[in-house]
Symmetry: C2
Subunit: 91 residues, 2 copies
């Protein structure tokens, strides 16, 4: 499980549509399919139904809040690190 997978997962949860989610992620639809497949393999279970919609499974809904929190924390930490780094480089 890597962070870019988590990003794609959360967008797809919102869109419930591979094409639209891929567009929002800035990647192609097949790439998103592959990324989600890898995440599902890493976890060992399906995260989305495919038909008729890309609806999150119960498993996906259960872990979604945790992954949202992780992504937010990561973005904050990265931003903080870059800011501190920038400030230190002024000395």
């Amino acid at each position: 499980m890597e962070l870019h997978h988590v990003r794609y997962f959360l967008v797809l949860c919102e869109e419930q549509h591979f094409s639209k989610a891929a567009r929002r992620c800035g990647i192609s639809q097949p790439s998103l399919t592959n990324a989600i497949k890898r995440l599902e393999q890493s976890i060992g279970g399906a995260l989305f139904q495919r038909r008729p919609r890309a609806a999150p499974t119960q498993l996906a809904l259960a872990i979604k809040p945790d992954l949202e929190q992780i992504l937010i924390s990561t973005e904050l930490a990265h931003r903080k690190a870059k800011r501190l780094s920038f400030e230190r480089n002024l000395d």
Copy 2:
């Protein structure tokens, strides 16, 4: 910034020694050097002094607690996901 980088970073913070940290991470010393270099590039600043020891910089110490929390949260979420997936597969 990806999660395996974060893992390596935290181990190196503890060991303050590339060889030992690499061994604990299960990778070679040159691979650890590369991984840390990438993380430093992603952030924009040095995370470790190299001589005489691989001592964490102030920047590294400042973000270490955040990254520890992220890693713990990630491991918990992944474990939870695998457990739920396993239980569902019994149905």
